[in-house]
């Protein structure tokens, strides 16, 4: 198929194209361009702006892709983590596409007759009908439930499409993980190109998640030229660069083209287990010596943590065994914890950069479900909410951790205002790029309007 055919596949009018690079830092892309590994991206920066971007807290994919697709903060879209507790219970559930409280970009576009192709955006499982195509991203489990329309399933199978790379291969060896990532990436890029060419669209969103997986397990290889898999990481980025070039070559001069990531990345010195700290300080108690879940929380508990960095006051009336009286006592304990957590040390070093009260970072009707405090670690200290750890710090096979800053945004035209830019700015940028003016309230500011 030639470029002429591709253009014939376009819907009418301007369109917007977003390529998501899960977990890719701005600084890494700059470095790769300087190394000459990403010539297509380097060329793109001559026509537009590549900038660092901040993301919503906590800095994990489920929260930030939800912010990306709705244009609002967690107290309005309702997703505060990969895992949450059901109201008045210690039972966990997994917030996802069905629990999202705010309308997605592509649903907003439907009322304007716009057709969307949305592929591999995390937190869109199970797939629901849209005007166009939707293939769910992480944590999608079943290809049939992840694909709308279902008639596309055989095509995806023909390409060998995988919903996610098999990171379980890391248990056998990093080389095996590399092979799994490569296989998954090859099929992902082929499918994204296929959808881009064959499915008419006004909005195209395609996300690459292999970058995040690679950074979690192979961050040392990404950053250390002596690592035996360093070249592999460069080849992955070179492949992504060629893909970006192919997509950009096929769009029209009036079309909006964006690249973005949902968080940054850095190396891990130590994993820090917040619930172990809360236990050591006397804020948290379990009813068993070897707790396995939040159901083991004892009534003596005054606060507990959920992954990655959320602190909840064990408030009376909010949790079955809650003991902290609402209002005054909660506020006093929140302040006490904030001070304590800011001073937390591992091996004589401070590990926390900032602690936010929920009112400081969230605003909306689901504020009551938000964690009372959100902790931002210093780089290198990966906060965890496991209830099973009884030591303050340790290490696992994972070598890379997320950062709330150093995410990236690219737009193929001049940015008309000064930063800092946030992930909430992407929604209004896409709306203005499509020449629309939506009535729904959104929180960010378009990057391309004065």
């Amino acid at each position: 198929m030639g470029l002429g055919d591709i253009f014939r596949r376009r819907a009418q009018g301007r369109r917007a194209v977003v390529i998501g690079l899960d977990g890719v830092p701005y600084t890494l892309l700059r470095q790769l361009m300087a190394e000459g590994r990403m010539p297509a991206l380097a060329a793109l920066t001559q026509e537009g702006a590549l900038e660092p971007m901040e993301v919503t807290l906590p800095e994990i994919s489920s929260v930030n892709w939800s912010s990306f697709m709705t244009g609002v903060n967690p107290a309005r879209h309702g997703v505060f983590g990969f895992v949450d507790l059901r109201p008045s219970s210690y039972d966990i559930y997994f917030p996802n596409y069905q629990t999202l409280k705010s309308k997605t970009l592509w649903k907003c576009l439907e009322s304007h007759g716009k057709r969307s192709v949305v592929a591999n955006v995390p937190s869109t499982y199970p797939a629901q009908p849209i005007n166009g195509v939707l293939i769910s991203g992480f944590v999608a489990l079943d290809l049939k439930k992840a694909t709308y329309p279902s008639s596309l399933v055989p095509t995806l199978e023909k390409f060998g499409y995988e919903l996610d790379a098999d990171v379980g291969q890391a248990k056998s060896s990093l080389e095996a993980l590399g092979e799994a990532l490569q296989r998954s990436l090859n099929a992902r890029l082929e499918v994204l190109l296929h959808l881009f060419k064959e499915e008419p669209h006004d909005l195209f969103i395609g996300v690459i998640t292999e970058t995040d997986r690679m950074h979690h397990y192979l961050w040392e290889a990404v950053t250390d030229p002596r690592h035996r898999l360093h070249l592999f990481t460069r080849e992955v980025y070179a492949q992504i660069d060629r893909f970006l070039g192919q997509i950009y070559e096929a769009i029209g001069k009036d079309d909006l083209f964006m690249i973005m990531s949902d968080h940054g990345f850095c190396g891990i010195d130590r994993e820090v287990y917040l619930n172990a700290w809360l236990r050591q300080q006397g804020y948290l108690a379990f009813s068993t010596a070897a707790p396995k879940s939040y159901s083991d929380i004892d009534a003596r508990t005054r606060a507990f943590a959920m992954d990655p960095s959320r602190i909840y006051i064990h408030q009376k009336g909010k949790f079955p065994g809650g003991r902290v009286e609402p209002n005054g006592a909660v506020q006093a304990l929140t302040e006490e914890l904030r001070e304590g957590i800011l001073g937390m040390e591992v091996e004589g070093r401070r590990v926390v950069e900032q602690v936010y009260r929920k009112e400081e970072i969230y605003r909306g009707p689901y504020l009551d479900r938000a964690p009372d405090l959100v902790v931002v670690p210093k780089r290198g200290y990966d906060l965890k909410g496991s209830v099973q750890k009884d030591i303050l710090a340790g290490n696992s096979q994972l070598t890379g951790m997320h950062t709330h800053d150093d995410a990236v945004v690219y737009v193929n035209r001049g940015i008309r205002r000064k930063g800092p830019f946030t992930i909430l700015d992407i929604f209004p940028t896409l709306i203005s790029g499509l020449g629309l003016d939506l009535s729904e309230t959104r929180e960010g500011t378009s990057l391309i309007e004065t």
């Binding site: 895992v83 069905q98 079943d142 009336g317």
Partner: protein, 201 residues
């Protein structure tokens, strides 16, 4: 995941929490993707339909059977229904079960002392209350507690949020609603595994 239409019949003495729980459950069920849902509250029905019914029904309220017929109409059109109705007669509730296909009886059990405390105006249990319900003993005699309800919650032991959470858990185990995130329990284990591999649990 599609949820099935069902009728959740909240029964219990006055002030046991039927109206409060019906409203809370409505909100929670919508979060579980039960989008087509109606609440039939005896108080609202009495206020809205009372005048028209006064000639045909004692006290202007729908009878248990009439409420069951309305619930069934909704349920067979795919609408989940929450009925909040004291419906004191065990026999009439059993009739309702026969009328409605997917019937879930929820007994809101509450100690008399707590019911009295909640009845701030003394409408049901106070000395100056109205009609035959004015005496605590009267309701005690009229009300026939379910002998084998699908769900029993003690509303004097749980706050409304906890009671709603308990009822939702039971509805999930009965296979009538999916979890808020739409995953089956088998799928939830798979999600856990995937999240653990990336260090999120």
């Amino acid at each position: 995941m599609e949820n099935k239409a069902f009728t959740l019949w909240l029964t219990g003495l006055p002030c046991s929490g039927k109206t409060t729980l019906a409203s809370l459950l409505g909100a929670r069920l919508r979060e579980c993707n039960v989008s087509r849902l109606e609440i039939l509250d005896e108080g609202v029905l009495r206020d809205d339909l009372g005048e028209r019914l006064e000639s045909s029904s004692a006290g202007g309220a729908l009878s248990t059977t009439q409420t069951a017929l309305v619930a069934n109409l909704l349920a067979r059109n795919g609408v989940a229904v929450i009925v909040a109705d004291a419906s004191p007669s065990r026999q009439e509730r059993e009739n309702a079960r026969k009328i409605i296909g997917s019937f879930v009886e929820v007994y809101l059990k509450c100690a008399l002392g707590v019911l009295r405390e909640r009845d701030l105006c003394g409408s049901y249990y106070g000395e100056g209350g109205r009609g035959e319900a004015s005496q605590a003993g009267a309701w005690g005699e009229i009300y026939e507690a379910p002998s084998n309800p699908e769900i029993l919650v003690e509303t004097d032991q749980l706050n409304p949020e906890q009671a709603a959470a308990e009822i939702l858990r039971r509805l999930e185990s009965l296979g009538l609603v999916s979890s808020p995130s739409g995953y089956s329990s088998e799928e939830e284990e798979m999600v856990k595994d995937r999240l653990e591999k990336l260090g999120y649990l």
